[in-house]
Every structure is written in structure tokens, then in C-alpha cells.
Homo-oligomer: 369 residues x 2
């Protein structure tokens, strides 16, 4: 089985269009609900036959669920590693479902059901993980969508629920609501003013946690952070989302203040940083992934500060997603270990930026100084 991304509505990444609120700073909002089917052993301890059964049940139920009726089913366990990594890079499946680490690799029966914005991971750590991914900072809208899917699907495959503990999950840290909401947020201002450590420390004190671009255990690159709730138990979904929403709103305010301070105190330093990043992306012939993320961070800051005129956030988002290793390798039909990937990445980045620049007035960047 080969992954055909064209089958996915919007290629599975509709949030790239940056149509959501505050989309220049908050790239996307993601919420997932961990669910398990009543009377079935948890996935990590289930045999192949039991996982097949779960898969069959969930797919059948989704066909009867209006919101999932048109969903594409991808049998992740039948994909090559490169394609599983690609789905992970699009944040469509977790590292766990993709089998990218751990001794077992990809699990028998691992599958993704997706409509592009709404997805169901099957046979992940839990039987079912419902997920919604939206552009910008949109926790309420995202949850409303997800809640509906949860209700509809749960009508066909009853979820294990305990009156005292709430939804039961394979790992107890997810029990209760089973909810994790996270935002992918870009905080270059706080990094440059060196306030980021203080802010991140503050987050953990109020029950939030932060991660890098690829979730748990991943490093922070390009000043992109995933902020999410730490606890899932003892509060209602609405309380959890309300709390996360307030804190993220505050982080956005801090970030904007930091940018103002930078613009006021060191305008040349900031403009220089931003335009150098643009110049390198536009002309380099070899780019590592980490450097690309760091340069994109600089350019994104420049767009946020109106230093770089009409470069679109859509283009920046595309660059972010499509310059990831599996994306670059797959586009060029190369292995992930191919030494030419940095050159291929640079060609792609240049072509996209050149295309964007074509649509701008001739001497845009240089004349705006």
C-alpha cells in the first residue's frame, strides 16, 4: 500500500491556509480525546486479532457517523517508514501510531481515519484517539467539532467510562476527560528578550506543559513551541479548555510585548536578523532542517512586525511543513539518509519564495528598508 496524499482533503493540512484567529503567532490548535471500547483489552496488551476487531468496529462505526462518513482510511501498518513519518510530520498521527520509535515499531492494526481536519487514530496507545486540527488559536471551535464526533462515534461503539474516574485510558495520566489540547505557537520575541525561560516555568506552575515541534521528547527548533494541558482528570473539558485558553492568550500578549520592546530598543538588530534570514532562505543552495526552521522563525517574525511586506503566512506555513525531512525525501523520491536532501530542500524553499516574490512589486524587499 502506498500513501496517496491527494486522497486526503486539503492534503491533510487545511490549517496551512492561516485562516484562523492569530494565525501568524498560533499556527494551529489541536485537541485529542483518548477513548477505549467497552469490554476490550487495551491496545498495548491486545493480540493482532483483537486489534483487527477494534479496527473493523471503529471503521464500521465511522461509516455511520455523519461527520466521518467521507473519511479516508489509511492502514498505517502497511505503509513504509518514510510515509509514516510523513503523516507524523503533518501532525496527523502520533509518533506512537507511526511506530517511529520504541522497540515494537509500527503496531499491527494501526490506522488513521481522517477528513483532513478531523481524524481518528485507531490502535494507538488507546483504541481510539479522536483529533481535530485547526488553523490559528481556536480551542472552542475545535472542541465543539470534536465533541460532536465523540458523541456520534460513541453512539455506535460505546466507550469505556467510569462514573468516578471518567473515560478509562491505557495510561492513567490520560484518564478522566482523556483530553489534551495543544497549540503550536511561535515565540521568537520571548526567546530574543530571554524571557522565555521565565514564561515556560510559569506555564508548568499553572498545569501546562511545553514541547518541541514534534511533541513529547522533541527539541524546540525555530522558536516553535507546543503548549498543552498537563492534567486530564478532576476538571471538566470546558474548564480545561478555558484555563488553557486564558494562559495562551496571556502568552500571546507577552510575546507581542516582547516584540514591541525589541522593535523599540533594537530596530536595526531585529531588521538585520529578519532580512538576513530571508536572504539566506532565498539564496542558499543547501539547508539543514534545523537551520531552515530557525530562518523561517526569523522571517515569520519579520512578517509579524510588518518588516517584510506581503510575504504570506500561508507560504511560511507551507515552508514549515514541506521542508521537513520525510516531505523533502518523498518529494524527491530519495531515502531519508540521502546526502542530497539539504540541497533538495534549498531548491524547494527557493522555488516557493521565488514564486511568492514574483507576486510582489519588483523591488519589494530592498526598497522597504
Amino acid at each position: 500500500m502506498t500513501l496517496d496524499l491527494d486522497l486526503l482533503p486539503d492534503g491533510g493540512v487545511p490549517w496551512l491556509d492561516a485562516s484562523g484567529p492569530d494565525a501568524a503567532i498560533v499556527l494551529s490548535t489541536r485537541i485529542r480525546l483518548a477513548r477505549n471500547l467497552q469490554g476490550h483489552v487495551f491496545t498495548p496488551r491486545a493480540g493482532d486479532g483483537q486489534r483487527d476487531e477494534i479496527l473493523t468496529m471503529v471503521v464500521a462505526a465511522s461509516r455511520a457517523t455523519p461527520r466521518l462518513e467521507q473519511a479516508v482510511v489509511i492502514n498505517v501498518d502497511q505503509l513504509a517508514r518514510l510515509e509514516r513519518q510523513l503523516l507524523h510530520e503533518r501532525h496527523l498521527i502520533s509518533k506512537e501510531l507511526a511506530g517511529l520509535e520504541g522497540p515494537t515499531g509500527v503496531r499491527h492494526g494501526a490506522a488513521l481515519l481522517t477528513t483532513g481536519d478531523v481524524g481518528v487514530m485507531i490502535n494507538e496507545e488507546d483504541h481510539v484517539r479522536l483529533q481535530v486540527l485547526m488553523s490559528g488559536f481556536a480551542p472552542s471551535r475545535a472542541y465543539a467539532e470534536l465533541e460532536r464526533v465523540d458523541r456520534e462515534l460513541g453512539g455506535y461503539v460505546p466507550f469505556a467510562f467510569h462514573p468516578e474516574f471518567g473515560y478509562l485510558t491505557s495510561c492513567p495520566t490520560n484518564a478522566g476527560t482523556g483530553l489534551r489540547a495543544s497549540v503550536l505557537i511561535h515565540l521568537p520575541g520571548l526567546v530574543l528578550t530571554k524571557e522565555i525561560a521565565k514564561v515556560l516555568q510559569g506555564l508548568t506552575q499553572v498545569g501546562l506543559t511545553f514541547r518541541g515541534l514534534y511533541g513529547e521528547g522533541s527539541e524546540v527548533v525555530g522558536n516553535f513551541f507546543q503548549l498543552s494541558n498537563q492534567t486530564t482528570l478532576g476538571k471538566s473539558e470546558e474548564e480545561l479548555l478555558d484555563h488553557l485558553g486564558k494562559i495562551v492568550r496571556q502568552v500571546i500578549t507577552y510575546e507581542l510585548q516582547a516584540r514591541e520592546v525589541l522593535q523599540r530598543n533594537a530596530p536595526t538588530v531585529i531588521a538585520d536578523k529578519v532580512w538576513r534570514a530571508y536572504g539566506l532562505l532565498r539564496y542558499a543552495r543547501s539547508l539543514s532542517f534545523d537551520e531552515t526552521m530557525n530562518l523561517l522563525s526569523g522571517v515569520r517574525l519579520g512578517v509579524g512586525l510588518n518588516l517584510i511586506g506581503d510575504l504570506s503566512v500561508y507560504t511560511l506555513n507551507k515552508l514549515l511543513v514541506f521542508s521537513q525531512p520525510a516531505h523533502v525525501a518523498r518529494r524527491a523520491e530519495r531515502a531519508l539518509t540521502d546526502p542530497d536532501l539539504p540541497a533538495i530542500r534549498a531548491d524547494f524553499v527557493r522555488a516557493l519564495l521565488d514564486d511568492d516574490a514574483q507576486r510582489r512589486p519588483r523591488n519589494g524587499p530592498a526598497a522597504e528598508a
Copy 2:
């Protein structure tokens, strides 16, 4: 007295046009002859009155000399430091005549007589230093020009000459021919292949010496070297020039071979280096002088390798000269210590490159990959 550079034919830098042989690698050829007037005490030991006398005599003689008839006279000792440095940055006067270092500063009676390409420094370490500066690698043509001036001027003010030692000079290391020929040469290939140390060592073994952009004691920046003869005594002018010519020709061959090796073995690394340099010059908002020279070196290599299409060597030469500290400061009417100079330099570099790019097809650099 204020320096009016517009009075100088071609602003005193006709060699910028890159019209000479091998001008992409050898920026300029410079030859100077040290001369002293018979029966007059050497400049360092002369009093103000004696220096005035030398100045008057040489200027009067130059008026009767066809080649110097139209020369502009600049009383260097009446210029502000910034303007003296500016003349030095154009290689029109030595650091010594400009009084840029040493305890005495600028010397009374220090003056420059110049037609743009031919100049006479008066009251330098010697009474008279004749100098010619030409585009590219042109030692024979340069010397033919200079020899004529030497002969003509020497007809009016007889030079101190000893039948055994040749021309007498203030410092014995210049006695004999009084000739120093030097080429300003760009050797990025030899630097990148790490062969430069071997080549420079070889030069000293055959009686040549190397210096940085600003002559004796100056550091090498941007892979620009001044190669010149070490000895002035015991050989004829023709022998000295012939020897220098042969060696420089060989260095050019080595440099071209090194570039070929780089292009063959590491084309992506080289293209990346070259285009990153271009991207930074084109977009940076703050540039130190040293960084500018290093980036210009990368871009110049790119032009030499035909990686960067039709960026002219003339533009590169202008960038080299006009982004020097005194040039930047004077253009913006700022002090040499002004903290804004790096930003002003970046604006100038960008404007010049933008102007050059306007004259190229729309998607020149990015599409040439």
C-alpha cells in the same frame, strides 16, 4: 581645505572599471618609484621650511611635465583625518603620507599630485614617490607609463643617484631601483582548498612578499592579498617586473586550478557559499567592514565561476572601495566612530546590488540554480 573628490579624474579610481587583463582575479596593479631631490636632506629629517621648498619645486616641475600638466594638487596636511583616510582607502596615498599612524601624524608639506591613474606623493618617507595604479594585471603597461613620468619629472628636478647604489632613498631597503610593484589579487580558491599557506611561503622564497588590503602590517580580509617584490637592489627594473610577472602569472594559474577542484569536488558547497554571501549582502541591514569584504569575496568567486550570472566586476569593485570605513562615514557625513556606520554600509551595499539586479532579468539568481 576640504577634499573635493569630483576634482579627481574618475574620482581617483579609474581601475574600478575592471578593464584590465584578468581583472576578475587581479583587481589592480600598482608600481611606485621612490625618488629624492639631489642636495636636499631626506624628508624625515627636514624642517617645515625645507619641506615647503621640496613641495614647491616638485609642483613647479610637474607643471612643466606633459604627463602631469593637468594633475590636481591635494595638500594632504590640510585635510581632516577622515579625508586623509579616504585617500588611503583608494590607494592614492600611503598610510605614512596620510599620517594615519605613528607618533607624528600627518607631516607638514605632505601632498598628493594626481591625474587619477598617475600620482606623485610629496614629502612621504622620500621626497617624491611616483605611483601608477591600473586595472587588472598590467605590470608592463604600468611601468611604461611610470617610467615616462619618472624621466620627464627627473629632467626638471634631478634625483639623487649613486652610480653603484642607484637611486638613494630615505630607508636603505628601497635604494637601487626604488621600485615596488604590487598586485591586489583575490585568492579565495587557494584559501578554501587550504593551499594558500604553501603558496605564500613559496612567494617569500622567491623574493616576493604579501600583505593585506592596506599594505604593510594590515590584516588579510576577504581573501584579498597584495603581492609585491621584496628587494629593490641588485636587479634592473625590467628584471624585477619580469620576475614578479612570472610569479603572479603562476599564482593565477594555481588559483584557477583550485577553483576547478572546488567546482568538481564540492559544487553544492561552493554554490551554497557563493549564494549565501550574495543573499546576505542583498538583504542584511547591518554590515561590518570585515564581513562585507568576506561576503564580497564569496560573491566575486561566484562571478568568477559563472555561478552568478551577470553581476558586473565593476559593481563588485565599487562595493569593495566604497564600503570602506572612511568612504561610508564621509558619504553619510558621520564620524568614523559613529555606531550607525554598519547600518549605513548595509543600505549602500543593498542599493548598489539592487541597482545591479534591476538591470538583470527578473528571476535571475534564483532561477539559475
